[in-house]
Symmetry: C2
C-alpha cells in the first residue's frame, strides 16, 4: 500500500454515493478530491453542506467530468448506472483520464459473458492506460454469486446450488422501499415492472457469474419477478401498508442442466416491507454438502459501501485491465 | 484450462492422501502418474490394490522422489508434513523437478509471517522454475481464516472477530479420533500435549493469517490447548468412552489490540467424540455486523480433499512463486 492517501473522485451522489463520499472523507488513507452529479438539485452545491460533512466544505459538486478542477486523482468511484451499456461511456471517459475505476454498476458482474465485445474493448483500453476497472458491491458481488462460487471450491462434487436472500426493506433507505414497490397497487406494480422501474437489478447476472464458476453445466433461464402482496396491514401510521397493496418484490431465476433438464441452481430474492427474520442462505447439495446462513442477513447498503471502500484500496497494485 | 489431463504425483498416502489419490484417479481432467510414501507398510505396494481402485493397478508406490519413474508430471500434491520446516526440503525438491506444488502442510497459511527468509528463498526458486507453490486445505485454509478475511472486505469497520468451530469426531476417521485423544486419560493427554502429539496443527497460524488481512491491529497470543473430558459415558460398545476420560481437544487463541489491550480476535476450536450439533460460526462485530453459520459444520476431510482438487486445477495458469 502506498503511504500517501489515494485521491478519489466520486461519480453519482445517490444514497450509496453520498455514504461512500462521507466514508472516504473520514478514512485516513483516502482523500476525496472531486464529486460529479448532473442532477440539477445536486450539481453546483457545496459538498460539505450537502453531506453535512465539515471536512468537505468548499468542494463544489460539478455536473460532469469535464468540469472537474484539474487536480490529480488516482481512483474514480462510478455509482451512476445500474445498466452496463449505460456505464460503458462513463468507464471509457474515466479510463481516458488515467483513473482506476471502481464501479457499483450491477450488471458488471457478468458483463464479460453478456457483452464480450464491449468488455474486450474496455479491457484493452484499461491495460493501455495502466488502470484497473473493478466492480464492487454485495448483491451482485458477494452474497449470491462470489461467495457460493468460492464455497464450491471446497467441494469435490456439486450437484446443485440454492441461494436465498430475504431483505426487510422497512429497515432500509426509503429509496429502496420505493424501488421495490412498497405501498403501490398490483396494477401499478405490473406497469412499472414492464418499464423495468421496479425491483432489483442483476439477479440473472449473479447466476450467470455463478454458473461460470461452478463445476456444473446449466442454462440460465429468464428472471421471474412477482409482487409480494400484503395479506394484512403492515406497519403503523404514515408507514402503514394496507392489505392487498404491494410490500415488495420476489425475484427468482434458475439454471437447468442441458443434458438432464434438472434444475442445478436457483437464486431467490425477496425484498419486502416488514419481511420477517431476514437472512441469507446458501445450500450446496454436493460432497461435502454445505449449508451456510447469515443470521439477520447481510445489510445491503452498509456492506455495499464497505465493498466499495475495500475495492478502492485494492486498486493500489491491481493488475491493469477489466477485472472481477 | 488445458485440454490434456494434468499429470499428478502424490506424496504421502495417509488418510487424506489416499482419498486425494482416489479422487484424482476418478477425475476426467486429472491423471495420477506417481505416488510416494516412505512408510515400510506402504512403499512397494501396488497402488490399485492398496486403494481398491482398479484403474491404478500396476502403479507401484515408491519410497522416495528419486525412485519415481521418469514420466513427465505437472503437479505434485504434498501431503507429507504438517510442520512448515519439515515441508521445506520436500517443497524444494519438487520445485527442483519443475513441478507445481499443492501442499496440505497446515503451517503454510502463515509461513510468510513466521519464516520470511525460508519463504523468500522458496518463492525465488519457484519463480525461477516457473512453478506455483500453493497451500490447500479447509482448516487452516478456509473456515477459520480465509473466509472471515474475505467477509471483512464488505465491512466498513471491524471491531472484533470471533470464529468458532465444533467438530464431532465420532463421525470422522479413527485417525482423527486418535489425534484428538479420544478415550485416553487426562494424564496421558498432558504427556502427549507436551510432545505436540495431540490436537490440531495450525490454529495460531490461522489467526496470524487473519490478522494480516483484517483492518485491525492485534498481537497474536499463545495457543491454549485443553482436554475435553467426558462428564458421563459417551458412545456404545467398543466405542464407549467412560466418564473422566478424554473426548477431544479444545484449542483457543486470541489477538489483543496493542493500544487498548482489548481482545480483537478469537478462534475457538473444539474437536471431540460425540460433540453435539457440530457447526462453524463467524461473528464480526463491525459495520455492518456479520453473523455467519455453517449448519452441521464443514466436513473437514471431504472439504480438504475438495480444496486439494480445486487447487490442483488452479495451478494451470497460476502465477509462478509461493502463493496463497
Amino acid at each position: 500500500m502506498s503511504t500517501r492517501p489515494l485521491r478519489i473522485v466520486v461519480l453519482g451522489l445517490g444514497p450509496i454515493g453520498r455514504s461512500v463520499a462521507k466514508e472516504i472523507a473520514r478514512a485516513p488513507d483516502l482523500r476525496l478530491v472531486g464529486a460529479v452529479d448532473p442532477a440539477p438539485a445536486i450539481a453546483g452545491r457545496d459538498l460539505g453542506s450537502f453531506l453535512s460533512e465539515g471536512s468537505l466544505e468548499g468542494m463544489k459538486v460539478v455536473p460532469d467530468l469535464d468540469a472537474l478542477p484539474r487536480r490529480r486523482a488516482d481512483v474514480a468511484v462510478h455509482m451512476a448506472a445500474s445498466r452496463f451499456l449505460q456505464a460503458v461511456p462513463h468507464l471509457d471517459a474515466l479510463i481516458g483520464r488515467g483513473l482506476h475505476v471502481v464501479s457499483t454498476c450491477e450488471e458488471m458482474i457478468a458483463a464479460s459473458a453478456r457483452w464480450p465485445r464491449e468488455c474486450r474493448a474496455l479491457d484493452r483500453r484499461a491495460r493501455k492506460a495502466g488502470v484497473a476497472v473493478l466492480a464492487a458491491g454485495v448483491n451482485p458481488g458477494f452474497v449470491m454469486d462470489l461467495l457460493p462460487a468460492a464455497m464450491s471450491n471446497i467441494c469435490l462434487e456439486v450437484r446443485s446450488v440454492r441461494v436465498t436472500r430475504h431483505v426487510d426493506t422497512s429497515k432500509r433507505r426509503p429509496a429502496l422501499q420505493a424501488k421495490t414497490g412498497a405501498g403501490i397497487t398490483t396494477a401499478e406494480f405490473r406497469r412499472r415492472a414492464k418499464r423495468n422501474e421496479v425491483g432489483h437489478v442483476g439477479l440473472r447476472d449473479s447466476l450467470l457469474f455463478l454458473m461460470g464458476h461452478l463445476p456444473l453445466e446449466g442454462d440460465v433461464g429468464e428472471e421471474r419477478l412477482r409482487p409480494i402482496v400484503a395479506k394484512r396491514p403492515v406497519g403503523k401510521g404514515k408507514r402503514r401498508i394496507e392489505a392487498g397493496r404491494v410490500l415488495g418484490v420476489h425475484h427468482s431465476v434458475k439454471a437447468e442442466s442441458p443434458s438432464t433438464g434438472k434444475v442445478v441452481a436457483t437464486l431467490e430474492l425477496k425484498m419486502a416491507y416488514g419481511l420477517a427474520e431476514p437472512f441469507d442462505e446458501i445450500r450446496i447439495a454436493g460432497d461435502p454438502p454445505l449449508h451456510l446462513r447469515f443470521e439477520g442477513g447481510v445489510s445491503g447498503d452498509r456492506a455495499t459501501v464497505g465493498s466499495v471502500l475495500s475495492t478502492i484500496r485494492f486498486t493500489d497494485g491491481a493488475a491493469p485491465g477489466l477485472g472481477g
